[in-house]
Amino acid sequence: MTEADRDYEHYEAVVVGAGPGGAAAAARLADAGVETVVLERGVEAGSKNVSGGLIYAEESAPYTIDELFDGFRENAAERPITEYHLHNVSGNKVKSFDISRLHHHDTEWSDAVLRRPMDSWLAEQVHEKTKEVGGGLLTDIRVNGLLRENGEIIGVTCDEIDPITADIVIAADGVNSELARDAGLMDWDDPEEWFQGVKAVVDVPPEAINERFGVGADEGAAHLFSGDLFEGVRGGGFVYTNEDSLSVGTVFHLDSLAAERAEPHELLDALLTHPFLAEWFGDEYSEREYAAKLVPDSKKVAHGSPHEDRLVLVGDAAGQMQAQGPIIKGMNHAVTAGALAAEAFVEAKNAGDPDAAGENYERKLRESGTMRKLRPRRYKAASAVGENGVATAISDAVLKSPLGSLGVKALERVGALDRLYSSPFMAMMVPDTRTPYVTLPSVIAEELGDPVDGESAVEPPDLADRIGGLAYDTDIGNPHIELLDNSYEASGVAVTACPVSARDFGGGCYREETVKTNGSTEQVVSLDTQPCVECGTCAVIADTDWEHPSGGKGVEFRSG
């Protein structure tokens, strides 16, 4: 400890963010007797968190969440996912594949979860564990940056409390990590590096779920959708069964969403109102919550060396979100990374060199095979040809031609499509182009699919009602996002890509405005952060100065 440190409150470890990554890190630190404080900006852990909804325990992973937290599955999770289906859609034609084999590959178990109940349960366990070693977990505290001394990171600064120094700072503060950006380890520059997910949690009674999905009370199903549902935007949809609700969502490549000027809530509605899903919702469609989240694409942004001085990044903050084809794994990697970061610090401390924690962590991520999952070599090789525009155009053209249709039929006859969709090896190489997301599924559905009869009676709420249904504690007079360039060229795409904004909608964050000045008209964008769901989309695609709201302020998700 230096002279400067003495003026500050000090803990051996500060963990920023109480999601699964932060919880795993804090639990491991506490188990090793490290005095640890966990700082969470939500009013309760989970109130700022959204996920599609499946958490995995991988057989090959060094840590799983139920090993770290006794009773996790009973107390914090929804239904175990016992079957997994993929549906290719073309108009009202649907061709389905059972991809349970792919789902079960390297999977000890996988449960659907809702983040508010899950994370708040974890936080209780973490508080009890960390309290034992002189620390604890605090909510309503936003860590807003790194504390430095002579240019070196020595702790964190916060909105609500005075700076804290620590021997290790574990940033598990999510996809829009302010600490990762303060350290210069992550940025928001390239839309190609991100996905945007939107989700509706829909009320369905447990018995109805059992009946409509053909599952037992302790079973659940996952369904994925791809094809021509989404106006050619690259991405897909999902439906997961919770105890007494369904998580229905869509995930799109942010660059594609921006380029197509697509409205995320409308794409979600396209899925919700497809006749294939109609019977799952029953007669009364009742939406519990609308939510959105930015998702890092680990293939492109998982940081190979996610540390700097005493700072280490964990989970989404380090881009550790694996999304390849139908495989979507984030929380499990965050758990592994959090536990490895804790392990790395404890070993470094015991060796008398706590500053070696970052290097230790990087090595452990590599040696445990975690980095290889996040940034697969096979993807690198395949994407080199697969994501090239010419290759996409050719494969798209071939697939759409009679030749392509014939090929798809031939593959189906020998059972090759089933095998293809069930292959973990193939899933790792799927390039991020229109071909696997849109063209191939559409052709498959068109050639092989069965038409779904009838119309959907589902009428999803409009955006105004969805925003109206969310809980906010607005930090009046203190907007957390500043629009740096309000020209339409710089920030106009936010009007459509922001999940709580839309063209011709006055109640969202971003609006188009026409300003007449001295005889000329100018197209500009205005921003009102009141309905913000803090997803971070506009940080990437518009010209903003983006921060999280202060502790306890902003949106509060009840399901997440």
Binding site: V37, H127, K131, G136, L138, D162
Partner: protein, 288 residues
């Protein structure tokens, strides 16, 4: 750092709770008793002191036996180590003078704490005298209208920011030796600027919710004999104040009618605009 907070039960004056008879007199039997709302700020000051410096936190009230529930309410609101109720027929109908003598005696029996907290006037009497007179009985300094508090235990001093003339714009900082009385202003803001303080607060809150349910286990009741007080100097007999009569203040008659308009109803809003039209003309004609 031991503290004592003084609190009082008052009629719940909130709409829907309070009941008046035809002459505008309070119907005491029909109106529930609650903790004096201003006392919450005193309790927050006591809690801040406990969080920052540790020590015992006690709460005291004087009143009929039913006022124990007011102490229970205090217990639910903040962490209290023990509760004291001064209750006895001989203490009944006391004015602020007799109340102060009773409180002062009880505080001496308890042992003078480092700080005594009180709220800024009660919702029923509104005199603001009891705290001052209790200080006079105990011969300790008092700082009123306190909005922020800083204690230096090793120096035995308390430093407080207080509103001058109740104006938020004008704040002075004063210091006093302890023991002292602090009267918390409704603008009092507790402040917890370290993780350690917030963790202690969280811990106390978790315990408070459990203790609040069984507050009677922490309750001590003292009558005049326990305090060794002469009935002639307390209660009605010890009160020099004579209340001649109470005049109800008539409620101002409402001169305006309210009409509800759904903002989504264009016809309704059209009507509103029509109603406002004459005022626009008035403004345009040179109003300011």
């Amino acid at each position: 750092m031991d503290t004592l907070t003084l609190t009082k039960g008052v009629p719940d004056f909130r709409e829907g709770q309070v009941s008046f008879d035809e002459d505008g007199h309070l119907e005491r039997g029909e109106t529930p008793t609650v903790m004096n709302p201003n006392d919450r700020f005193a309790l927050q000051a006591a809690l801040q002191t406990k969080v920052r410096h540790g020590g015992r936190t006690s709460v005291m009230s004087m009143g009929p036996p039913g006022y124990k529930e007011v102490l229970g309410e205090a217990m639910e609101s903040v962490y209290a180590d023990d509760l004291y109720l001064l209750s006895d027929r001989e203490m009944a109908a006391a004015d602020t003078w007799a109340t102060s003598i009773t409180l002062g005696t009880a505080i001496e029996k308890l042992g003078l704490p480092d700080l005594i907290f009180a709220g800024f006037k009660t919702a029923d009497g509104e005199t603001g005298h009891t705290g001052l007179q209790t200080c006079w009985c105990l011969d300790i300094p008092i700082i009123t209208h306190v909005v922020a508090l800083d204690i230096e235990p090793e120096k035995g001093r308390v430093r407080a920011k207080r509103l001058v003339e109740g104006d938020v714009e004008e704040i002075e900082t004063v210091e006093a030796p302890m023991p002292a009385m602090i009267v918390a202003d409704p603008e009092f803001e507790p402040s917890y600027r370290t993780a350690g303080e917030r963790l202690t607060l969280k811990d106390l809150r978790a315990k408070t919710s459990k203790r609040g349910e069984k507050y009677e286990e922490y309750l001590t009741v003292w009558d005049h004999e326990a305090l060794n007080l002469d009935p002639d100097y307390i209660g009605l007999d010890g009160s020099p104040t004579i209340v001649e009569s109470v005049d109800p203040i008539p409620k101002a008659p409402a001169e305006r009618d309210a009409t509800m308009v759904d903002p989504g109803d264009p016809d309704g809003l059209e009507d509103v605009l029509e109603e406002m039209e004459p005022f626009r003309a008035e403004l345009a004609a040179g109003g300011d």
